[in-house]
Subunit: 314 residues, 4 copies
């Protein structure tokens, strides 16, 4: 990216912060995860990491936040890295799930095979896969995020993780269903704990954008990060991107695909990671969520950014 | 497209025909639609229409076939053309539906608002919209297809349409459900008949690719066709493309998005229309279907093509 | 029944009218069926027909009302009468359906075989069976009710029937689904029309109680009515009674079984027919319905009656 | 019961053993519960306890077997005994659930309130209620069964219970769902363990029939057992019986109601307890199950018995 271009992008991001931060408090912070309530509702950060290794940011882009479900992108990528035989796809599908309600019916109807790796049931299977393949899941995801972002800042928020584990009845229920169908190899408590812990990792927009840039670069680690060889094969990278596009935004995948035109994955911590193939990765963060669980100001800012710089894939 | 490029593409398409036609008879022709059984199961055609107005084809690209659900792309586009107030989106959603099974539950659970315009319930609402807005649906879709393709060949297969109407209990059921929820303005028999008729239009790969190229060109009619002004706004075009990507391939949208990396819409007649934004439209046809209702050889050929010429959006 | 007993029963019924009529207007008259709105909401009638041929009544027991779904008891009995080979049970099950919501899912999941003959889908199959076996359904049901009640008063309310047919989209939807699964032999419009018409029959409590008494008498026609031989075999009679108990009160079968302790069938016209095996049949009518579609004052009066005269089967 | 009557009943039961024992091996013993496989598949016992205190039996009526879900009748009765304020009914409904499949959807759709106390989710809530109200569930149920049967033979099969607890993923899943909806007061592991343990109680047909006779006697303890005062109010007894009739035989409640005509509760151990109000209780046992989980020979024998001695309530 030329200096002129970088300067233009910085101006654009600054404008996005000014334009979209006011909408941040409109959304709601979910009641289900107590520790998210201590976050400043007016927080708004955005960072863009391009495939040439540049990172541009604005607003609260260096403030760490709880990545929550965004971790599923990385646990999936890590599992694929360690799955040369493509065995994971016998245990989880790759299709949109429709509503959360339907996904429960689906789990029952399809004998314990989750619809995709981004619904909770599917992410629990991915976590179980890592535990079996690597002997660890949360630790591996954390190390992966640190290596990808070239930063030691990513860390598990232990207090938040412990609190969340105490209110994870739904995840324990899903994990026990999976176990009942024989689709879990490790003990339920171990799987749920590792899952909750890697969702409780905190990172800044800057580090997350940097960590995600390999998805924009056919699986190659960007020059600036400490992973010289390919993070993921080009094929698996396309796989992750297409799953993000069709399944990454809960029950608003279609809406996000249209408005932003990029593969994206959101978390209830208010973060969204979006990937522009061939260009770069964007991470935006603002805690207030819409009814479907996606950041209100974050979604709007990404739509705005994609439109301004012409990154939509459609 | 330079002559050299066109020659290269023609060679590629010829190779695709040789490589994928043998797989054509592997798939099954659906029992539900009798007249499809009279089609030669070894048929295989492919055509590419680029945004610069060139059309390249191979195999049975000039043989007309029943476009079936591919007509939904054009009925939707036509409805959006005549919906400046965006009222259609109050009557149909834009999210993936998961399985056919779930979509019925969904229709009930969400009070008669179909998940998207490409499932049958949603396409019936679109047809109803056209009937109310234009006084006609099938005739309008046919005229639209003729104008877009610059050909008078597209026609309704009246015998096939009559036969299909006689075995349309499921569509009558859906239409009555929609009517029960107040989401149909015109009488059920009229809506179902127009729907069945525009699905019974026959076209060749060449004409369908030509008709779809505006979706690759931000809504502009390609120079070679007789629609000088924009067919659709750039925004509505992105909308149609994103719905194709997330909902266009029945319950295999995720798989197609990954393998082909392009928005696509299939029909049980064995055709698939795919769109490469900024590049062009591809239409492939081969009658044998896989378990999810998509052309076996057609899907494989599109994956191969996309990979060879680098058109994947991911 | 001795004169003293009859006098006692009359007093009890009079007391029930006084006690429960005030609650009549509490319930709601359904919006879905317009002509029901012209009925006096304070109407309340009750009649008891015992197996010895006596009929005792109080309140508006001689006022005809729309029997609606109560007709399903008689269409089923009539079908069983003409089904020596028990073929009907290959086309409809005999199990409770859970909620209306589930019953739609069920129809899909179990390939068009309705859960029981009292949900609308099941009653449409019964109507279709009668049409095929007898060449007529509504006419046969009406003649059956007249013979059983020994009265020529039962009649189809033609205006109401026509109005209801015009707003029967849900029933047309169900019938088309059944047809799609091959579980309908006659044309959808004919089946729905006959179904709506036999639901539009009007009868008084007195005539309905009389018509139902064979269910309390092992299938024998009570002495006072013009059916000397058995109406139904003892076995089929128990079948009908057990289906009434488990499926007769929409999604309140369990509650009614407990409170009243008798097989019962309600209609949205506000009537309820209950059967006390070995004793007699009771019909109560009061138009206001509870949230589950059963007569508020009628249910309460039946619970009261059953408790006072010790007719609960539990 | 006169001596002549008792002699006649004994002969009838002997005939039932001869007639139905041969069908015992037809059914299947469920794979899900390993220890049931050690039981002799030709076992067949039957016992009738009448309200006058007599017990008549035949076949393997004194062989203890795993009562499994039959324990739900007693845990429910016990909970009602200790629930003067009827608070339990705010946490569990009393309606048939349709299929197991639907009941899971239902739990989700109705916010964690199980359809009835006999599906596993409902029985877990009842167990939780006992734990909170009495500080114990399994111990209380066992003491209740011993007092009702007047026998110290009923005991928890500790080895079987431990094995079953190890394969109770489905129950852990359900319990965690209930906890997620706030419908569990005690910790999930404690509730599931008590539930599995009271299902692992072993009893003979003789003792179970004796234990169930209060349900046939308006809640009164039969003279022969050590519970002089009422076990349950007449109203709560009717409640339990009506729930048994509508929900006691998994997805075959309607079929059982028709064929046997009595409230009944089956267990996957092959036992069935049936109640004839005003007459007595019957327990039959034979391990082979039909596709719906009910004893093949046991169901047939009960239908036969009910027909021979005229105990059907319909």
């Amino acid at each position: 990216m030329s200096t002129a271009l970088a300067t233009g992008l910085r101006q654009t991001l600054d404008e996005l912060v000014r334009a979209h931060r006011p909408a941040a408090p409109v959304g709601r912070v979910p009641d289900s995860i107590p520790h998210l309530h201590s976050v400043d509702p007016t927080s708004f950060g955005i960072a863009v990491a391009t495939v040439d290794g540049e990172v541009t940011s604005a607003g609260d882009a260096d403030v760490p936040f709880s990545i929550q479900s965004i971790s599923k992108v990385f646990s999936l990528s890590l599992a694929l890295r360690h799955d040369p035989g493509q065995t994971l796809w016998q245990r989880v599908l790759r299709e949109p799930s429709g509503t959360a309600f339907n996904s429960l019916v689906q789990l029952e109807a399809e004998s314990g095979i989750p619809r995709n790796p981004f619904i909770n049931a599917g992410a629990l299977v991915v976590t179980d896969f890592l535990l079996e393949a690597r002997g660890d899941a949360c630790g591996e995801v954390l190390a992966f995020l640190r290596a990808l972002s070239g930063s030691t800042a990513p860390a598990v928020d232990e207090a938040a993780s412990a609190a969340e584990l105490g209110s994870s009845s739904r995840n324990f229920a899903l994990a026990n269903f999976l176990a009942d169908f024989g689709n879990l190899r490790r003990p339920v408590p171990e799987v749920v704990e590792h899952y909750v812990r890697h969702c409780s990792i905190t990172m800044s927009c800057r580090d997350l954008a940097r960590a995600g840039v390999f998805l924009a670069d056919a699986g190659r680690g960007a020059p600036a990060v400490a992973t010289p060889s390919a993070v993921l094969s080009a094929e698996d990278t396309r796989r992750v991107n297409s799953i993000m596009l069709t399944c990454g935004m809960y029950d608003a995948a279609g809406e996000f695909a249209y408005r932003v035109g990029l593969p994206g994955k959101s978390g209830v911590g208010g973060g969204i990671l979006a990937v522009a193939p061939g260009r770069g990765a964007v991470c935006v963060w603002s805690p207030g969520l819409d009814a479907k669980g996606n950041s209100v100001a974050g979604s709007a800012a990404l739509a705005d950014l994609s439109s301004r710089i012409g990154w939509s894939i459609f």
